[in-house]
């Protein structure tokens, strides 16, 4: 019988030593703890790479082991993940929230007043829309982010509007820090008259009436431009006001010149309408133009992004903020806040924006002067007027923000405003639409 060279005593000693090894402090990247972050999976693929690089740089400097996950908004996966983590009380330390989702989870998010104060002290206040969605009564529960934050202004075909409607959008909104007086002509009445002309020419405006954010955002901005509130800040239903009637009377005329299947539009339908060359104008961030650059260069070279039309109560541009929140269950909240503060420094924000060709919008108006919006092409200056600039005399708009957030989120996600227009397009009268909306809105105030 062969004698084993390993005795039981030596095997036990080896096992005990192996088990004790992790207890020995070894200086690694995770010496200051761990963090996990749920970022938004950017439409522009390089957007994720630059984020990873920035996070790694911070991680190396601060000796915090950071795990970054990129979660898509397709199929509401980002929203679902946040909802699941909120219910379970476990998950990422930092989570990305889109628009209303931070409010929905506000009670489970750690206060970030210190982070926001440090940023606003350095860069000035955040825009009103971000402030509305990320804070309540001065208490911040989320940090407004630039990654994913977007406007949905007008994006039009230069040649088609010039030829069929006599509108020179480049003259209205040139790629310069100047506001020509002609820009004041860009109103909802001009939208109506040009929509009719372009429809006759076979290039119907690709404006949707579905229940997805694109449709909700532009109708919300239009309602704001008419001063029409569905529910006010005190929770009173204002559906029967003169302003609502006025916007519905206007809409009754406009919907005749929108696509017959506008009610089935999702967030990609207007992009496709523009890229396919069938549509002369959409309300969208520059993602449609960016895809057209690849798939339909002749369309991309003919695109110009400019502000939203003005109504009786002003010019409102649909704005969709993305926010970063730190869960209360996070074990490393101080590192999480430190990371967020780092990522929202101007250098990091600009670096990310350069990579995504200007898609991201900083929440600080003081940062709306990045060179990327002047430089990307074709044509040169095509997205110069994408951010809301001071001379646009426009305000960022969040649909239904006249109401308190817990009511507004229902109006937004149920697509109440575009559904009202869809009902008008299907032939219902204004009283019928008001009656339907009134019933819906009363349910939201329960």
């Amino acid at each position: 019988m062969l004698k084993s060279p390993i005795t039981r005593r030596s095997a036990l000693q080896l096992g005990a030593a192996s088990a004790a090894l992790p207890l020995v402090h070894i200086r690694t990247a995770g010496a200051a703890g761990k963090l996990s972050v749920g970022f938004w999976d950017h439409w522009v693929p390089q957007g994720n790479d630059v984020m990873k690089k920035q996070v790694q740089a911070w991680s190396d400097k601060n000796k915090v082991d950071v795990q970054s996950d990129f979660i898509t908004t397709v199929g509401n996966k980002l929203q679902l993940t946040a909802a699941a983590e909120s219910q379970a009380g476990t998950g990422h330390d930092i989570m990305t929230f889109l628009a209303w989702d931070a409010h929905n989870n506000a009670q489970k998010l750690a206060p970030v007043n210190d982070v926001v104060k440090a940023l606003t002290d350095k860069y000035g206040p955040v825009n009103e829309a971000s402030s509305y969605l990320a804070s309540s009564k001065g208490n911040w529960f989320a940090v407004p982010s630039s990654s994913g934050t977007q406007n949905k202004p007008s994006c039009a075909r230069i040649s088609l509007l010039k030829k069929f409607a006599g509108i020179d959008v480049q003259a209205w909104y040139p790629a310069q820090e100047v506001q020509p007086p002609e820009a004041a002509e860009w109103t909802y009445d001009t939208l109506l008259s040009s929509a009719e002309k372009l429809q006759k020419a076979g290039f119907t405006y690709g404006i949707g009436l579905g229940q997805t954010p694109d449709s909700v955002d532009w109708t919300g901005a239009m309602f704001a431009a008419f001063g029409a509130e569905l529910i006010d800040g005190e929770g009173n239903v204002r559906i029967k006001s003169d302003a609502v009637r006025q916007v519905l009377e206007y809409s009754q005329k406009l919907v005749k010149f929108l696509p017959a299947d506008a009610v089935s539009y999702d967030d990609a339908s207007n992009n496709r309408a523009l890229i396919s060359g069938q549509s002369a104008l959409i309300f969208n961030p520059p993602s449609a133009w960016a895809v057209a650059k690849r798939d339909a260069p002749q369309v991309a070279a003919d695109c110009w992004t400019f502000s939203s039309p003005a109504g009786p109560k002003g010019r409102f541009v649909p704005h969709v903020p993305f926010l970063w929140g730190v869960w209360k269950f996070s074990q490393n909240q101080s590192a999480a806040k430190d990371l967020l503060q780092y990522l929202m420094q101007r250098e990091q924000v600009e670096e990310r924006d350069n990579v995504v060709q200007g898609y991201d919008l900083p929440p600080f108006p003081s940062m709306n002067n990045f060179k990327v919006w002047q430089e990307v092409e074709p044509p040169k200056g095509t997205v110069f007027n994408y951010p809301t600039l001071p001379w646009h005399q426009a305000k960022p708009s969040v649909a239904a923000s006249s109401a308190s957030p817990d009511i507004a989120v229902q109006i937004y996600n149920r697509g109440t405003m575009p559904t009202m227009l869809a009902k008008l397009q299907s032939g219902q009268t204004i009283p019928q639409v008001i009656a339907w909306a009134s019933d819906e809105l009363e349910g939201f105030t329960r």
Partner: protein, 316 residues
């Protein structure tokens, strides 16, 4: 001993070997019912964790307020029943499930008969081809359908335009959108019915048809008086199964229309998602999803009662 002396017999107590001593615990472990229970335990745990616990939690959630801080009892359900939109959802869910299941059963039945009557050599090929809609992942096939209905790139509209006809807003008009969602569900679910009915047809004794033929029965009479009575139970069970699955359908409506246009294709699952997850009112969303339970329970009761009574008749 032989000389008459006796040797005291020492009785050595029989000590059972250690291995044979069986305690109460071991006896219990060796019982058949215990072994059977332990073998079923993984499945029981799975069902408990993934079915029972979520169901009970959903019932609990549906009785809370939006912030989940107060118990409301059945208030959420009363609130929902008063809403016009929810009444529309109930109607649409019943319309969607009822219509889709009817056509799936009908087309599946017809296909099964056609398949049954072609030579068995070719049957395999056709069986395989006709099963394809069912084996493709539903989300993927629905996406393809969505592309065919797309406002800008619809293949159907392209075909119509080739023949000089105008484009149809497939997902943009209420009843057309409803038709589209039902059509996709029928396309997906018919193979299941076909394969079940084909199996049932093969189990109908040939002698019954011969006897019917001798009695002068026509093809239609054979269908109504031989085939259908023999297949009643399988028809009932497949219809019930499909009703439950179709009622709870989420993928098709979510991908094709997301409940639009103007809420005209919302079913319970998609409305629960919109209200619960997107609008941040999880208790109300739980309430919406639980509405399916009484409807399906009533349907299941009547169908299974019929199956049981027919089974008893046949046994008698």
């Amino acid at each position: 001993m032989a000389d008459g002396t006796s040797i005291p017999a020492v009785v050595i107590p029989q000590v059972r070997p250690r291995a044979q001593r069986v305690g109460g615990m071991q006896r219990w472990m060796r019982r058949r019912s215990t072994i059977a229970f332990l073998m079923c335990l993984p499945l029981i745990l799975l069902i408990a964790c993934l079915v029972i616990y979520p169901s009970v939690y959903a019932i609990y959630l549906s009785m809370l307020n939006k912030r989940m801080t107060k118990f409301l009892g059945l208030s959420n359900f009363v609130f929902l029943l008063r809403r016009d939109t929810f009444q529309l959802v109930i109607f649409q869910s019943c319309l969607f499930a009822g219509t889709a299941v009817f056509f799936k059963a009908l087309i599946g039945f017809i296909l099964a008969h056609l398949m049954h009557n072609i030579p068995s050599r070719n049957q395999r090929i056709w069986r395989g081809l006709l099963l394809v809609p069912w084996v493709i992942p539903l989300a993927m096939s629905t996406l393809t359908w969505w592309w065919m209905f797309d406002p800008s790139y619809s293949a159907f509209n392209w075909l119509l335009n080739q023949f000089g006809l105008t484009s149809v807003p497939w997902l943009g008009v209420g009843w057309i959108a409803r038709f589209c969602t039902i059509a996709v569900n029928v396309w997906f679910g018919t193979p299941f019915f076909m394969i079940m009915y084909l199996a049932a047809l093969k189990s109908v004794p040939e002698q019954l048809y011969e006897a019917a033929a001798i009695d002068g029965a026509s093809a239609l009479q054979k269908l109504f008086f031989v085939t259908l009575p023999m297949m009643r139970n399988i028809i009932a069970i497949t219809v019930l199964f499909s009703l439950i699955v179709t009622f709870a359908d989420f993928d098709i409506v979510r991908i094709l229309t997301a409940g639009g246009p103007a809420d005209m294709t919302h079913v319970f699952a998609t409305y629960a998602f919109q209200v619960g997850i997107q609008s941040g009112d999880i208790p109300l969303g739980a309430g919406v999803s639980l509405f399916m339970v009484p409807i399906l329970a009533v349907a299941a009761y009547f169908v299974l009662r019929g199956v049981t009574s027919r089974t008893k008749e046949m046994a008698a």
